[in-house]
Symmetry: C2
Subunit: 97 residues, 2 copies
């Protein structure tokens, strides 16, 4: 499958798998997703040190205590911008906190 | 590579490849990307019928005539929401126009 379609399909399928049927990720489901879907040691160490309460707070724009698909896509975009910055030096640097 | 990393890597690599070094996609580069990176017949037919001038207008938020990485990610998120809606019936339906 071509990359554009694969990336779109993977983002949707990942979310649906870990959101466990209710269409939202709670903190444990988000943690479980990141532990399983991130293998790169450097990224894993960075994300492993993340304060998940803070991360949830930043991602949970509508303050319902869970991450819906729209909020999840924002998180994916943020990580993509960090990787883009790392690769090109352009765009916004990642906020490590 | 795990799906989350692969999706992020593919979105960045695709953009950089088709943006040809200047960090922006012009209309021809966008068309070339979609022709090469979308193989699904149904999606290809849909996107093939798209008025690229209109699509550029909608994607080009800062009105500089080209698509930067941030605008490209918004487009990817929009397509992911369409696929999510198609798969679950939830979320926003795609605007076909």
């Amino acid at each position: 499958m071509a990359r554009m379609e694969q990336a779109i399909k993977d983002m949707v399928d990942m979310f649906l798998e870990y959101a466990n049927g209710d269409g939202k990720l709670n903190k444990d489901e988000l943690k479980n997703m990141i532990q399983k879907e991130v293998q790169n040691p450097e990224l894993k160490a960075k994300l492993g040190a993340v304060d998940f309460d803070k991360a949830m707070e930043r991602m949970d724009k509508n303050r319902d205590g869970e991450i819906d698909f729209k909020e999840f896509l924002k998180c994916m975009s943020c990580m993509a911008k960090c990787y883009y910055h790392k690769k090109t030096g352009k765009g916004k640097e990642c906020e490590e906190k």
